[in-house]
């Protein structure tokens, strides 16, 4: 049967999760004792936060894990009220089987505003007798203190190259792929240690060939990523601000890119522009400042425009 490889090769046992040994040890002991506090998993994308939560649920509830585990994504559920109502409905019903509590997994908590987090904190208190929360985020600094102090916090480390190599080998074995030696470096470089992207890119490559080289990887990644950034910047440098910002917006909408995706690419492209090096350095500096403001501000596109305007000088 065809499957999506992120799911097919998602680790099923604690010891299959790579690179987070200390965390696994402590979390698995909670599960063994059938008791746990609220947990907070923080760390970059694709290092195993969701995977570990799923394993916790399956180990705690066995066959009945699906009815005792609620998975929510703070960035998809519109507003904290939706989250609250879903939590309320879920927490009100009795646990299936004889378990002391249910588990609610709330992903991407750092996309919640401070007020939403305050509301979440109340919700956590209200249902503390019947529910445990596992909160996941990229940056724990974006989570308000009262929530952090109610959770046992686990900081996931970025995956190292050896972990990615192991994951690639595992998939290659399962799917009968041959991986050229230079392909490992390529995969690690383009995924930046994100295991979800590793599985997705390999699946895309395999649809073309079973023999995977660095070129295959780069070709697939290039096809998936917008190529317009250089052109947009060049138009800005030539002085046509209005045209370049219109193209930027169109590109972002077409590919569904976030401001952060775009600024990462702009950062890379600055060196490829035909302008003086001293100007490149100024633009890099501005790039960093705007990325910082994007985190602080509220309108990502406006911030990108402010950056783009600097290219026209």
């Amino acid at each position: 049967m065809m499957e999506i490889w992120t799911e097919k090769y998602r680790p099923k046992e604690f010891e299959d999760i790579a690179g987070q040994e200390d965390i696994i040890k402590r979390v698995s002991s909670f599960v063994k004792s059938k008791n746990m506090p609220h947990l907070m998993f923080s760390g970059p994308a694709g290092v195993g936060k969701t995977t570990l939560s799923l394993i916790v649920a399956k180990k705690l509830f066995g066959e009945e894990w699906n009815s005792n585990f609620l998975e929510l994504n703070a960035s998809d559920e519109r507003g904290i009220d939706v989250v609250r109502n879903k939590v309320k409905d879920f927490a009100r019903t009795k646990t299936m089987g004889n378990y002391p509590f249910k588990v609610i997994y709330l992903d991407e908590c750092d996309s919640l505003t401070k007020e939403a987090q305050q509301a979440l904190r109340r919700t956590m208190e209200n249902y503390v007798n019947s529910c445990r929360f596992i909160l996941s985020c990229n940056y724990s600094s974006k989570i308000i203190d009262p929530i952090q102090s109610r959770c046992a916090i686990f900081r996931f480390k970025p995956l190292e190259k050896k972990h990615i190599v192991k994951q690639v080998e595992n998939i290659a074995k399962g799917e009968g792929l041959t991986i050229n030696s230079d392909a490992y470096d390529a995969i690690y470089a383009v995924t930046e240690g994100d295991a979800r992207r590793v599985a997705n890119i390999l699946q895309d490559c395999a649809s073309m060939t079973k023999d995977i080289s660095a070129e295959t990887i780069y070709e697939k990644v290039a096809a998936a990523r917008p190529q317009e950034v250089n052109k947009i910047l060049t138009i800005a440098v030539s002085g046509d601000f209005i045209k370049s910002r219109d193209m930027l917006l169109d590109m972002m909408l077409r590919y569904g890119l976030s401001g952060l995706d775009v600024i990462k690419q702009i950062h890379k492209e600055i060196w490829n522009l035909k302008i003086e090096d001293s100007k490149k350095v100024k633009l890099l500096d501005k790039c960093g400042e705007i990325e910082f403001r994007m985190v602080e501000g509220s309108d990502e596109f406006l911030q990108l425009e402010a950056l783009l305007a600097n290219f026209t000088i």
């Binding site: 499957e3 999506i4 992120t6 601000f241 169109d250 403001r293 911030q303 425009e305």
Partner: protein, 387 residues
Amino acid sequence: MWSEKYKPKNSGEIFGAGQVVERLKDFIVKYKKGTAIMLCGKSGVGKTCLVHALAKELGLEILEINASDVRNKEQINSVVGNSMRQMSLFSKGKVILVDEIDGLSGMEDRGGASELAGLIKGSCFPMILTANDPYQTKLKDLKSKCEILEVKTPSYLTVKNLLKHVSDKEGLRISDDLLKDLALRADGDFRTAIISLQSLAAGAEISNIDQKETRGNIMDSLRLVLKGKNTENVLGAYDNIDMDYGDVMLWLEENIPKEYKNAEDLAQAFEMLSRADVFNGRISRWQYWRFLAYIYDYLGAGVALAKKEKYQGFTAYGPSRRILKLWQAKMRHAKRDSIALKIASYTHCSKKRVLQDSYPYLKNALTNSDLALEVGLDQDEINFLKQ
């Protein structure tokens, strides 16, 4: 009538319009034959007052013709003509004031405008014309003979200062908020403001005092901020419009590039918007609304002073196209987004992450029906991916 009682008696008593006063004084004192000044501005901003105050200060007589006089060629000639061409030996100097020349209309004033144009050439005395709207075609010829001086519409703060001055003189005790309210309602018209104040003092209810005009529109605010560099005007630029600051930011974002053709001006103006947005983010995160004051500073003075030179000429401002594009994209990408949402729930992550990290790589694989059905896609969605 307080509006008469508190007319300025010399140029020092004039509220706002400092530069115009200086230029006008200069023109009268160093008058050269063949020149004239056309004072332009909305009604009630003090055009006529200004001339009267200056004449009084300089000890000059005023020869005034205004809209209530019939102004055809003959009359103009008989009233003004002679006295204009002769310096009198004994009398003091004179200023000729032709008030509200946009009142010159077809029938009654036939020939009036061209006669005036002719008089300007030969006049021994400084001639000052006033008009509400200098851009009317019937004034075209006259305009080319005159120096145009614009009397700016005063900000509500200037109007409020005047009201404060008058109410102090009259010994009224009126709260600051009420004065502000009156000033806002007057919409830059000193006369209306003072009349309202007098009616209020006579016992009228504030709610019965009409607002002079409907509130200003965003175009006027944009013009103030993007064309000029006058901080006094710019500080209150968004006070009179019914629009929340988020929308103001979108209007600026759309229209700054149309006006600021100098690259450094453009970058600096967007720097100001960027800073404003940072404070906007802080407000929404911490609900600390005092930051709003800074946002308005950035959007007003910040953007206005981003330019080195004033921008002239007409620019067609328009509403933001971004919101429309977002909406169109949402419609266009509805299918893609619904597919992404299904992949998201199947692979335990958010739609956003799927669009970045999964969808571009899996869209080929998902044309396989087995896999697509496993993920929960319907036939429509599979067809969409096959395109």
